[in-house]
């Protein structure tokens, strides 16, 4: 009898403990492309997000609750949509973060908004995402337009000055892969370059999945531009550089607008020839003097953990996953004190972080209802980096840069 009651007591306490455990977990959905052609950066973005969750949990969680990410593989827009359905209805999650790619974000957030949940975007940059007037859609990162504009501004403020020329005497050629990402960045770059007085010869689109870009590179040759601004995906970026070398196309400056241009694999594939190429996007390497004490410490801790876990330093994409997710947990959910979408929305709208307050150098303030870019973080901005000695360093804007631009004009291929 005694044994029986002891067993019963043990069983009851075990049940109670699991119940208590279940109660103290807050689940947040995380949608990223983990298979298929976007897997590389989708996984990297998620890895950053996971470190944010670990750090919050180790520091005691939020209001006594442990955070758990429920991950969905959104490898295509169709899958993004069905995974968003699964997370919001079957798993009954009200807060969903993601998505790295804009196309996937469009599809997934449509579902989440309809079901009244919060969608927290930490990676997709297509302008249109925050033009839909969604009530519960928040984007932490800068937009494609901002990124393209920066490429043009870098051309006038840094490159033209180094060349001792006026924009009107410099020919700019914009080339881009023809998805939403490439098109929106490149058209913003083209428009801004024209505003700044550059002689923009043309804007040429191509398919990222192509196996050959000699027609594009021969167009470059025929055009003979001083500056090329390129939005590319992966193999296309490599083809452009290699075929430019093979076909002898030399320019004064080459600017890539994020993606592969900012990844170690780009430097590895080109060797020393990568030096001098510019890249506009966010950066994990902004001048720490421009960061608040707390965010500088967070960035350092994040880099340490990421390197330990994955054997490589985090790229910008991993860092944006970390920064966006940490912001959601530490600044928004903590303040809201609940996973109720309405409370979370109010808490998000109340966030007011000055510039330098995140590890990427940005501040955070979301555009309100009346704004045509509702839900956009108006304090996010891209930076310009340059490959120098096989590494990326931030060269503009001056507030966050760590080095001066060099190798302008770019040496000819015979000297690279």
């Amino acid at each position: 009898m005694k044994i029986k009651s002891a067993l019963l007591a043990a069983f009851a306490s075990a049940v109670l403990m699991t119940a208590a455990h279940a109660q103290s977990t807050w689940k947040v959905g995380a949608l990223y492309p983990l298979t298929g052609s976007l897997a590389l950066l989708g996984t990297e973005n998620l890895n950053g997000a996971k470190i944010a969750v670990d750090m919050i949990n180790e520091a005691g969680g939020i209001a006594g609750n442990k955070i758990e990410l429920v991950v969905g593989d959104a490898s295509t827009p169709d899958k993004a949509q069905s995974e968003a359905e699964r997370l919001s209805s079957l798993e009954n999650l009200k807060i969903i973060t993601g998505t790295y790619s804009s196309g996937l974000s469009y599809a997934a957030s449509q579902v989440v908004e309809r079901r009244g949940g919060i969608y927290w975007e930490t990676g997709g940059i297509s302008d249109g995402l925050t033009k839909r007037g969604f009530k519960n859609y928040f984007r932490v990162v800068f937009t494609a337009s901002q990124n393209g504009q920066l490429a043009a501004e870098l051309s006038s403020e840094v490159i033209a000055k180094k060349l001792n020329k006026q924009p009107k005497d410099l020919k700019v050629l914009v080339v881009h892969e023809d998805s939403d990402y490439g098109t929106s960045v490149a058209s913003a770059a083209e428009a801004r370059a024209k505003e700044l007085g550059f002689n923009v010869s043309s804007r040429v689109a191509y398919k990222a999945s192509t196996t050959d870009l000699s027609p594009l590179v021969l167009r470059m040759k025929a055009d003979a531009p001083n500056i090329i601004i390129a939005s590319s995906y992966a193999n296309d970026a490599l083809l452009i550089q290699r075929q430019m070398k093979q076909l002898g196309v030399n320019v004064d400056a080459f600017i890539g607008t994020g993606g592969i241009y900012g990844l170690p694999s780009f430097g590895e594939a080109l060797g020393a020839a990568v030096n001098g190429i510019f890249d506009t996007e966010g950066s994990a390497g902004v001048n720490t003097a421009a960061l608040s004490k707390d965010s500088a410490k967070l960035l350092e801790e994040f880099k340490k953990r990421f390197t330990a876990a994955h054997g490589k330093t985090p790229s910008y994409v991993g860092t944006q996953g970390f920064v966006g997710t940490h912001l959601l947990l530490d600044n928004v959910l903590r303040k809201a004190g609940s996973l109720d979408p309405e409370k979370v929305r109010v808490a998000a709208m109340a966030v007011d972080v000055p510039n330098g307050g995140t590890a990427l150098g940005w501040g955070v303030k979301f555009a309100g209802e009346a704004d045509p870019m509702r839900g956009q973080n108006v304090r996010a901005f891209p930076v310009a980096q340059q490959w120098q000695n096989g590494k990326l360093v931030v060269v503009a804007p001056g507030t966050v840069s760590t080095a001066d631009a060099m190798l302008v004009p770019l040496p000819g291929w015979d000297k690279r």
Partner: protein, 295 residues
Amino acid sequence: MLSILPQLLVSGVLIGGVYALLSIGLTLIFGVLRIVNFAQGEFIMLAMFGAFWLNLALGVDPYLSAIVVVPAIFVLGMVVERFVIQRILHAPHSMQIFATFGVSVLMQNLALTLWGPDYRSVITPYTSQAYTVAGLSISATSLFAFVAAIVMAAGLIAFLHFSRGGRALRAMVQNRYAAALMGVDTKRLNRLAFGCGVACAAVSGCILTPMYYTFPTVGVDLIITSFVVVVLGGMGSIAGAIVGGLIIGIAQTVTGFYFSVEFKDVVALLLFIVILLVRPQGLFGRLGAEEMGTK
């Protein structure tokens, strides 16, 4: 603008060689087994990873790595034939598509799990090298791919026409059952042909490693044009794969420059449709080839 035409033609011929190289294995497999192998791109991807790892671990030149990689993929191809292809040889087309497509998805995700999604690359002294002849630039890697395509095609054609095994294969292609009655071991020949077809993919993988990034879904991007090339050249025709590759390559490069880089594939496909309207069996194909020998 017209002064650039010779260079466009040269570049078009070179990329055409790459397309031909990628297409030979596909057309060989179709020619013998009457199966469209949707996993062909993944065998290319595996070979690229093989070349990459051999280069990273032992510093082997990617071209040389073919000595190890091609036999390995050949064996893998025979295994796949034994356990997948053989079982669907007489199944409806839709099932054959599902089966080879399934192999493709499996291999992609296996590569993703084993090696991760990173873009890997091999740098060799000839990676971005070009020869200049009469003011025309010739990419070293593309030239090698072109030469490899011609050698591979010539070797296969010679094998099919002048060797005993090749005669048996052609007999089987004409009529499976008659050939079997004459003592041809059709099962063994099928397996051999599939192994050879994916070994061709492996050769192209090793040769293309210095040109492109290696990653789990690279096969999809590389093989897509080959389907067009194979149909254009005539399904099952090796010479057709070469001519088809060159036509598509030149059409894409010339129209890409003068008309639109973005729509260079569209133009090539329009040409493809026009040729098929005139010659539905493809340039070197025979009418009804897809059913031939299976009934």
